[in-house]
């Protein structure tokens, strides 16, 4: 049986070869998962390691503006920086954090912020920013996790009432008729409703309907407590329900539009509740539609609106945190933010730019006025799911009982708030 030995050794060799190559390849694949927290956050000096910037862009205008701002900074600082546009930002960010090789600077939306801050993916750089106190307090609050301001608000948007001038005039209304209270809003919406045109439209989601809750003095979270089924919120939903059932208001989806702006541009709605991003969409898609922007009418508790914001996140795993911080400082400066406003219609996140902005865009001033009283949409980890559940319920608000609807969401929200504390 001497021959057995070479055969066995060959087989052994072959098996080893397979195993080794398998291991080698697995190791290559595995190296994507580098160990977290390499301590790069401790560096204080900017290195010349190149930076990548990942943005979720609304279109070429935004991409070009950001690319230009980043490359001009790059020229000054000598640090290479490239801008990439994400097709699915949350997914690409998550993938980057998991692989330990994320983009250095990126957009973070308020609703995904808490999750990334909680798992340590974000570098809490913003506490030391020189201009930190210039950001609107509500925006700082949106990006504060465990009493630390993690990232600098990039810009923000608020909701306002957008009115179609032509339909307004056709209904015999004048500037004096712009509604300032809920009663007037109901009246005007009824006047403007004609045939296929709804007087008022908004998307079936808390991100729009919540503005009524804010004006009623409600909100999903009040002083750290879940208050989804508060009497104020019930009052707001009952009011919205009445508008919907009277036929003077419609959900944009019921009009066959993807969002309020589309319904407005197509003339399916005479008034919509939308954010300042509508200005960009109108000039790009419906340049012929003339419109007026007004602050949302006062509810029982005065003015109220919602705001939405993003921040410039820096990855804790970045090789060049200090360089990234300098880039963000540049991008959040008054000049850069005004340039971004000009390019794609956002509102600067710093208070010192507000006056200049209102001067440049007098027609859109109601949006920035909203910044003084706007509420944040709750963004505790898990709150996104609760709001998604609420939105699912809101689609059938017409036939639902507002109290019951909100009671259904309250326990879920309580669970999220309890987890966050």
């Amino acid at each position: 049986m001497m021959t057995g030995t070479p055969r066995n050794s060959r087989r052994l060799a072959a098996a080893t070869l397979v195993a080794v190559s398998a291991l080698a390849l697995t190791a290559c694949g595995g190296s994507g998962f580098s160990e977290a927290g390499e301590g790069s956050g401790d560096q204080t000096e900017a290195t010349d390691a190149p930076l990548t910037v990942l943005i979720g862009s609304s279109g070429t205008a935004e991409t070009d503006a950001v690319t230009e701002a980043v490359s001009s900074w790059s020229g000054e600082s000598g640090i290479d920086a490239t801008v990439n546009v994400a097709s699915d930002l949350p997914q690409q960010l998550s993938q980057g954090f998991a692989s330990g090789n994320p983009a250095d600077v990126f957009y973070v939306s308020a609703d995904s912020f808490a999750g990334y801050a909680a798992n340590g993916s974000l570098e809490p750089y913003a506490e030391d920013l020189p201009g930190k106190d210039d950001f609107y307090p509500a925006l700082r609050e949106a990006f504060t996790y465990e009493d630390t301001l993690y990232c600098a608000p990039k810009d923000f948007s608020t909701l306002a009432l957008v009115i179609n001038d032509e339909l307004w005039a056709a209904a015999g209304l004048t500037e004096a008729d712009i509604p300032t209270t809920w009663d007037e809003l109901a009246e005007t919406a009824a006047t403007l409703t004609k045939g296929d045109t709804a007087g008022l439209a908004f998307s079936p989601e808390f991100q729009r309907v919540g503005a009524f809750a804010a004006a009623a003095g409600g909100g999903l979270v009040t002083d750290g407590e879940a208050t989804a089924n508060s009497p104020e919120n019930v009052e707001a939903l009952s009011y919205v329900q009445k508008l919907l059932n009277d036929g003077s208001a419609s959900y944009s989806s019921d009009l066959g539009a993807g969002w309020g702006g589309e319904a407005f541009g197509k003339g399916q709605a005479a008034m919509v509740i939308e954010g300042n991003w509508i200005a960009g969409a109108m000039s790009a898609d419906y340049p012929d539609v003339e419109y007026t922007v007004a602050e949302l009418p006062e509810g029982p508790a005065g003015k109220g609106t919602l705001q939405f914001t993003n921040c410039w996140g820096i990855a804790a795993d970045s090789d060049n945190v200090e360089g990234a911080r300098q880039l963000v400082e540049q991008l959040t400066s008054v000049d850069s933010q005004l340039a971004f406003s000009k390019a794609f219609g956002v509102m600067p996140s710093v208070q010192s730019a507000a006056d200049q902005w209102s001067e440049q865009y007098p027609d859109l001033a109601p949006f920035i006025a909203g910044g003084d009283y706007a509420q944040n949409v709750p963004a505790q980890p898990g709150a996104v799911d609760v709001i998604a559940e609420l939105n699912a319920q809101l689609e059938s608000l017409k036939t639902a009982d507002p109290q019951q609807l909100l009671d259904g969401v309250q326990p879920d929200l309580e669970a999220v708030i309890a987890d966050a504390q």
Partner: protein, 383 residues
């Protein structure tokens, strides 16, 4: 194989063993790329996902690193305990997908078999054209078809326009969260849930919601799935039909069976293996529906097009709950395996002796076959 090769003259046992050893080595070498690729892209990721589903990994750095700890079945209980939002979402997604499967699988199987029988008929002119036409949706990317569908089924889209010709005002398809069964019940006057069905039931979803049926939005996806996949399965059925020899049909004709009887008594039983394949592939594919949802509705309206596959993705990537996302994927895997096994059990051939299965032509009839086939009135392809 090695055994059947005659050993070369003069070769002894030793020589033969060496040859076999060399062949073994060669064999290993040849399969090593596949082993490596399967290991790298299948076994390792699956094992890692299994680990993530029982860990508290938060999505940063390696899931096998030091700071990640074992949490047992916690992620699975969060999904299955029927208490809380995560579980209700999972229940809703199972409800949606269940109706999707119940409608898509039988309809696409039936339709594809029907199409296969049609285009397999010798008398049909332009068979090639129809075959290509029916198969076409299958080769188009599902993303493109989804976008097409969004346009066709928009509130002012082609479908509703056509419906308006027959005085039906179509629903706003992809925005309509009403369950089809609820719509039917509403038509006979039942608009609210009976008291018994309002309490949270299995997986936290009330009985009334379980009975909602697919939403109008989901129905549009169901139509799309049937439209796109029946072409693929039609090909499988055509291949199987062409394997059934003409004289079996002929024998049935001699026995006096009409066309209808021949289909049910002869053709269909002989298609059983293919039927099993089609049903299994359909079942697996329709439990994994993801790309239509991702490009089309993201689970809306009102979560009625949420499917477990999409929920797994969004739980992990958008909400940073990686453990729960992985757990959903494994539960989905278990569902698919269980259902496939059940289906295998149900389609088992009971009455036919095992050895005679799939042998339509026995050795003794081969002689008759040559004789009779020349007499068949089938057009022979011209050389």
């Amino acid at each position: 194989m090695a055994r059947s090769i005659p050993s070369p003259p003069g070769g002894g046992t030793a020589r033969r063993r060496t040859t076999r050893g060399r062949q073994g080595l060669t064999g290993w070498l040849f399969i090593s790329p596949v082993v490596v690729i399967l290991g790298l892209f299948l076994v390792v990721p699956v094992l890692m996902a299994a680990w993530v589903s029982v860990s508290d990994w938060t999505g940063r750095g390696s899931p096998v690193g030091g700071s990640v700890s074992f949490v047992g079945g916690q992620n699975y209980t969060a999904i299955l305990d029927g208490d809380g939002l995560a579980s209700r979402d999972f229940g809703t997604s199972i409800r949606n997908n269940l109706y999707y499967v119940l409608l898509v699988v039988p309809l696409q199987t039936g339709l594809s078999m029907f199409l296969a029988v049609l285009v397999n008929r010798q008398v049909l002119r332009g068979r090639g054209f129809f075959r290509t036409a029916f198969y076409f949706p299958s080769v188009t990317s599902s993303v493109a078809i989804t976008v097409l569908w969004l346009f066709l089924f928009s509130s002012t889209g082609v479908v509703n326009r056509v419906l308006s010709f027959i005085s039906v005002s179509g629903p706003n398809w992809f925005q309509d969260p009403r369950g089809v069964i609820h719509v039917i019940l509403a038509a006979v006057g039942i608009r609210t849930a009976p008291e018994a069905l309002t309490a949270p039931g299995f997986l936290g979803v009330s009985g009334w919601e379980w009975l909602a049926g697919p939403s109008v939005a989901m129905s549009a996806f169901i139509l799309m799935a049937i439209f796109t996949t029946s072409g693929t399965f039609m090909l499988l059925f055509i291949a199987a039909l062409q394997n059934i020899s003409g004289e079996v049909q002929e024998a049935a004709m001699v026995d006096g069976a009409n066309g209808w009887q021949r289909f049910w008594q002869v053709t269909l039983p002989m298609l059983r293996p293919t039927l099993f394949t089609v049903l299994t592939l359909g079942l697996i594919g329709s439990w994994q529906v993801f790309d239509q949802i991702y490009t089309g509705t993201q689970g809306g309206p009102a979560k009625t097009t949420l499917t477990p596959a999409y929920l797994s993705f969004s739980t992990a990537f958008n909400n940073q709950r990686w453990g729960e996302g992985a757990a959903i994927a494994f539960i989905l895997f278990a569902i698919i395996v269980t259902l496939t096994l059940l289906q295998r059990l149900a389609l088992r051939e009971r009455d036919v002796p095992r050895r005679r299965r799939m042998v339509p032509v026995t050795a003794s009839s081969t002689g008759a076959r040559t004789a009779s086939s020349s007499a068949l009135p089938v057009k022979e392809p011209k050389p």
